[in-house]
């Protein structure tokens, strides 16, 4: 299938999904909990336009906090791509060896741990405020990147680790499954048989084939990463979208949570569409599915 035909199929589906995100949110939060319920237009106006208790519209409340959440998610993502993806590829190539088994085991164990728990353990151990071995900034230490880059970085080390170790491990488990047959593919076997050094086999041949599966896992995992950002922001008092949601729970502000749900859903549909298109560009085999 040509790329153009792939787009003709994929883009309308995403457009339809955008509409359905709003409709499903309306059904779940506007109709189901209440008898009677608001009209769709009234519902949309409440979560997109109306000023919330004089603090501005819900989207404006969210947008102001996006930089903090973005710092968190992107940083954790960079950690995952730089550390975990190469490990997962290396393990997949050496499938069945003790290295592969050790990687798989530790990934699974880390993936089973919740990010907020690991974050709080980190605070208990290393936070400069209450830690047993204080050397990293603790709760509420986050400052914007533009305000103080050094502080921004150090305050995010523990939150990044909490997210990358748990969600990253989960993603690596998935990636390893996607790469399962990698070590048996003809061209990998042929490359090894040619006597190429192991490193060349991994980076020249296996890594290229792993690009599309990595993007696929990324698309699935991004939602979980945003979810982890919510709990990690709550644990570390980072003033991002997650903390806004957390505070909204405390104050029972359903409207703000609904707005966040809808906006996150719309954003994720677009991001997944973008990832799918990149995937189809990188790997022509994707276009047939």
């Amino acid at each position: 299938m040509t790329l153009r035909r792939y787009l003709i199929r994929r883009v309308p589906r995403a457009a339809l999904a955008l509409v359905l995100v709003v409709l499903i949110a309306y059904l779940l939060f506007g109709v189901l909990p209440r008898t009677g319920g608001a009209s769709l237009s009234g519902y949309l106006k409440a979560i997109f336009v109306d000023s919330y208790r004089g603090r501005g519209s819900v989207p404006s409340l969210i947008v102001g906090r996006v930089p903090a959440t973005l710092s968190l998610v992107l940083g954790a993502l960079v950690m995952w791509v730089v550390v975990a993806v190469p490990i997962a590829i290396a393990a997949a190539v050496r499938r069945g060896t003790s290295f592969d088994r050790a990687v798989a085991g530790s990934m699974l164990a880390l993936g089973a741990a919740p990010a907020f728990w690991l974050g709080l353990l980190g605070l208990y151990l290393f936070a400069s405020t209450v830690g047993q071995f204080p050397f990293l900034p603790g709760q509420g230490a986050y400052v914007g990147l533009t305000a103080d880059p050094g502080k921004w970085f150090t305050s995010l080390i523990m939150p990044w680790l909490a997210m990358a170790l748990t969600q990253g491990a989960m993603a690596s488990v998935m990636l390893r499954r996607e790469l399962t047959e990698l070590s048996q593919r003809d061209y990998v076997v042929a490359a090894s048989a040619k006597g190429l050094p192991h490193r060349t086999v991994v980076w020249r041949h296996a890594a290229r084939a792993a690009a599309a599966p990595t993007l696929k896992v990324l698309g699935i995992e991004l939602g979980a990463l945003i979810g982890a950002a919510v709990v990690v922001e709550a644990a570390f008092s980072i003033n991002g979208v997650g903390l806004l949601v957390y505070r909204s729970i405390r104050h029972d502000n359903l409207v703000i949570v609904e707005g966040t749900v809808v906006m996150a859903g719309l954003l994720m549909v677009l991001v997944r569409l973008a990832l799918d298109v990149i995937r189809a560009l990188v790997d022509p085999r994707v276009r047939t599915t």
Partner: protein, 252 residues
């Protein structure tokens, strides 16, 4: 895995064996005058929380919530998802496109956010005309809404033609198993954030949240943080390994 199930079912017996009090019983003597909870001791092997409640007992009772929400949530999500997917596989092509887009929409919203929304919407007075009551049912409902899309996609891809009926059932069974650890983690995250199962019911996520507050305020009690977290991680890991083992067994 089996051990966890036995502990959950026989929770009152387990707490009796260890000679600790019930999950909601407060022991004022175990908290200092300044409200600092005491650590592990003979009377309270895992220590007590800020209200003087025995942590071992609460960890044991917390397993009931985790298993109930995890197993029931995964089961209902699989049944609904399987039904939706199979029904859609009979639909004409344009109908399938709409269903796929709808599933894309459901899966686009991060599960934790969806759960928080449902928890807030249904947590006060229930929803869906009383079918979903506040508390555990709300947490289960959140798990179902967040999880059924994945199953429906698989069912739709396989279809329901007679020759694939057995592989379909196997795949659905495997995906039900794989949903369980995810459901337990989601439920704990919701508890941590303060929606879903409500106090004073013992629930691991809430226990971790309250221990976190104690640590932040300087009443450092590692025991309040470590034990429920280990129980949660261990339970999730056990179900992950079970799902993997069974998946491997049926795929060969």
């Amino acid at each position: 895995m089996l051990v966890i199930a036995v502990i959950a079912i026989a929770a009152p017996l387990v707490t009796d064996i260890f000679g600790v009090k019930g999950p909601e019983v407060r022991s004022p003597g175990a908290v200092s005058a300044l409200g600092v909870p005491s650590g592990p001791s003979g009377a309270h092997p895992f220590g007590v929380d800020d209200l003087g409640r025995d942590i071992l007992s609460r960890v044991v009772y917390g397993s009931r919530v985790a298993l109930e929400v995890g197993l029931l949530g995964a089961l209902i999500a699989t049944l609904i998802g399987g039904a939706v997917g199979v029904a859609a596989s009979f639909a004409p092509r344009w109908g399938q496109e709409i269903v796929v887009a709808g599933l894309d929409a459901c899966l686009a919203v991060p599960a934790v956010l969806l759960g928080v929304g449902i928890g807030l919407a249904c947590g006060a007075a229930g929803c869906a005309g009383g079918v979903v009551s506040p508390g555990r049912a709300t947490a289960i409902f959140a798990v179902v809404v967040a999880g059924f899309g994945m199953v429906a996609r698989i069912a739709l891809r396989i279809g329901a033609a007679a020759e694939v009926r057995r592989p379909l059932v196997t795949r659905l069974g495997v995906s039900a198993l794989r949903l369980v650890p995810a459901a337990i983690l989601l439920e704990a995250a919701l508890g941590f954030l303060g929606v879903g199962v409500r106090a004073p019911n013992a629930e691991w996520g809430q226990m971790i949240a309250s221990a976190g507050r104690d640590i932040a305020s300087g009443n450092a009690g590692w025991w309040g943080l470590v034990f429920p977290g280990l129980a949660l991680t261990g339970t999730v890991l056990a179900f992950m390994l079970l799902a993997r083992g069974i998946e491997r067994a049926v795929s060969t």
